[in-house]
Symmetry: C2
Subunit: 372 residues, 2 copies
């Protein structure tokens, strides 16, 4: 298969939303193609909950139909909806390069990487209710901020609106409260992956985030792909992760190839401003899931776990503007000859991911001016 | 009316869960008493979404029936369920005394109150999927921790398991993404309040919380009342809040009596170990809601916003054990003649609230040993 592949929810001409399987520029209407009842709902949640055996049977049959020339709906005729009801949304901080870059900017007077960072995948909960599907415009948030020289905070439209390029995984099969999941349980619980743009208002975030973490600097919107790419289609993209030093505690150890070789890029105003790869993430997805449940917390169908910003070691491989522009000190050029530090009204951002022949669903969003 | 009053979900002998209106030790079965279809669901969400006019009509009719001697189910025969599907869970940090006490313990070398605290209600997102109803046992969480003298972190059962006494409000009517709610919109969106025990593993929290805030130190369980007390029953308990200095920015200003005069107590092992009052909270509920949406984030039916630990200025009015025992340095006595610093396996904690004649639904939980 070629092009973007994944399961999502679509409608045509205002009809009832239904589950579809996208391959490239066509969408197979699963509800209308003789699939089981999990696929007749207006969200993927029932299918996600059905478990690995069903996932793989449905995928196999869907691929067979598409490759056999079954009728598909042209993507351009479809309205794409949020593919699943997001239960809880967790955002990690799993890129060593990103955590180091951010630490340097936010805490210039201390060690950029905090002492806990190499021992556990740092993460926090985000707002599930404001996760939106690719294509949804993003209204520039207002908020409180205070520059170092200001005597008091101000309230107004964010002046440092940023993106974060992330890869998220989606839980299908729930776990039981009070029971930890080992890293090896990952494939039985997780259905697939989506690209995530964790829009971030850096001025709001900088003023609010101590001591309890990001809140309004992030909660105004988080965009995800309209199509979940099943892990089963990425089998040949699992590669060795970076070496972890020190070795993680036993509950976070897992042998094998658990990094995902997915080439990523960020386009801003028709210009690719960053290219990187998800395989460089220090903490792997099975470790993230094991950590999140190590205290007995349960996961539910529809839980979304995002990687945190994916930045590589090289200039031009950073997954956010605050890193790419060194907090605005080094503007970057975009296609029309202008430059950017942070996002301007009207800017369109597109995240793309490619895993060999398979593309992930893109994440597209345009900035609208702040509301009065 | 006297005793605990509120709307919840109950079942009898394994029957279908249904909506009930509790007064004292009796529960009016609303689905069986001629109410509208919103009240025939196995959760309160549809009723919560129906809006203030319906809330008040249903409350009026339910009170009329109970006072008229309508048959009620004895509470002791009912199994009480989580009263609503929690959408997003936000936890604030609105008690000046608590924030000061915790700042002193967690950051002994700097100003206990951070510079942002008096300008906005600090908050963060918690895990909605692990909110449980009063009576649910709480398994002692495992997690990573590192004492200052340890050379490396350890993983094991929390040794500093704590409670947090909080008051939460529950959103009924959703708002629109991209649009802020002014503080004055509070009563049109918020249905009522519940007591909240935000169980906290202090050792896990201390090691993980920088820079992105609490995660596994909190996410293993959060207990709430089985009964939501409608704001309409608390009209005469709204009182003047503490003076705010400096005056908040315009979007957080609201005139009038928005503090809630609710007497609170914490019982541990049959001993009342803390008595305080919600009226002392520095940030009011309408300010919390306005802040949370000030960046355009939307709220949904079932959103739970908790106050953060409610501590008063006096010894014995602190809402957590870490404060009551000065981080374990001053054990407190409990009923059987023993002492406590943090929670031991088998300990039962009960939170109670009283607003004049009306009681809030209690929050009860017993600690089970960590799972192997």
């Amino acid at each position: 298969m070629n092009g973007a592949v994944g399961f999502g929810v679509f409608s045509i001409d205002g009809d009832e939303p239904r589950v579809g399987f996208r391959v490239g520029q066509g969408v197979l209407d699963l509800a209308a193609s003789g699939f089981s009842s999990e696929l007749s709902e207006p969200s993927l949640n029932a299918f996600l909950a059905s478990g690995r055996r069903t996932w793989e049977a449905v995928l196999g049959r869907a691929v067979e139909l598409v490759e056999g020339g079954h009728d598909v709906v042209p993507l351009e005729d479809a309205t794409v909806h949020l593919p699943f009801e997001v239960a809880d949304y967790v955002d990690f901080y799993s890129s060593l390069e990103h955590a180091t870059n951010l630490g340097r900017l936010f805490r210039p007077d201390s060690d950029p990487l905090l002492p806990n960072w190499r021992h556990l995948p740092i993460g926090y909960h985000g707002r599930a209710g404001t996760v939106v599907v690719s294509g949804t415009p993003v209204v520039r948030p207002r908020g409180q901020s205070k520059e170092p020289d200001d005597s008091a905070p101000r309230f107004g439209p964010s002046r440092r609106l940023d993106i974060e390029l992330e890869l998220g995984f989606v839980v299908g099969v729930p776990s039981v409260l009070g029971t930890a999941l080992p890293p090896a349980a990952f494939r039985d619980h997780v259905f697939g992956v989506v690209l995530v743009n964790d829009w971030s208002a850096r001025d709001i975030q900088a003023w609010e985030y101590q001591p309890l973490g990001p809140f309004l600097g992030k909660s105004f919107a988080t965009s995800i792909s309209g199509w979940i790419t099943p892990l089963a289609l990425l089998e040949d993209r699992f590669v060795a992760p970076p070496v972890q030093d020190p070795e993680p505690l036993p509950h976070l150890r897992i042998a094998g190839n658990w990094a995902l070789d997915i080439e990523l890029e960020v386009e801003l105003s028709d210009t690719v401003v960053s290219r990187t790869n998800a395989r460089g993430l220090y903490w792997t997805m099975p470790q993230q899931l094991a950590h999140a449940t190590s205290n007995g917390a349960s996961v539910r169908t529809g839980d979304l776990f995002a990687s945190g910003t994916i930045s590589g070691p090289d200039t031009g491989s950073e997954g956010s503007l605050i890193e790419l522009t060194r907090n605005g000190a080094r503007p970057i050029g975009v296609g029309d000859g202008s430059t950017r530090t942070f996002l301007e009204d009207g800017d369109e951002v597109v995240l793309r991911g490619r895993a060999g022949n398979v593309e992930l669903g893109e994440v597209r969003g345009t900035i609208l001016p702040a509301r009065p």
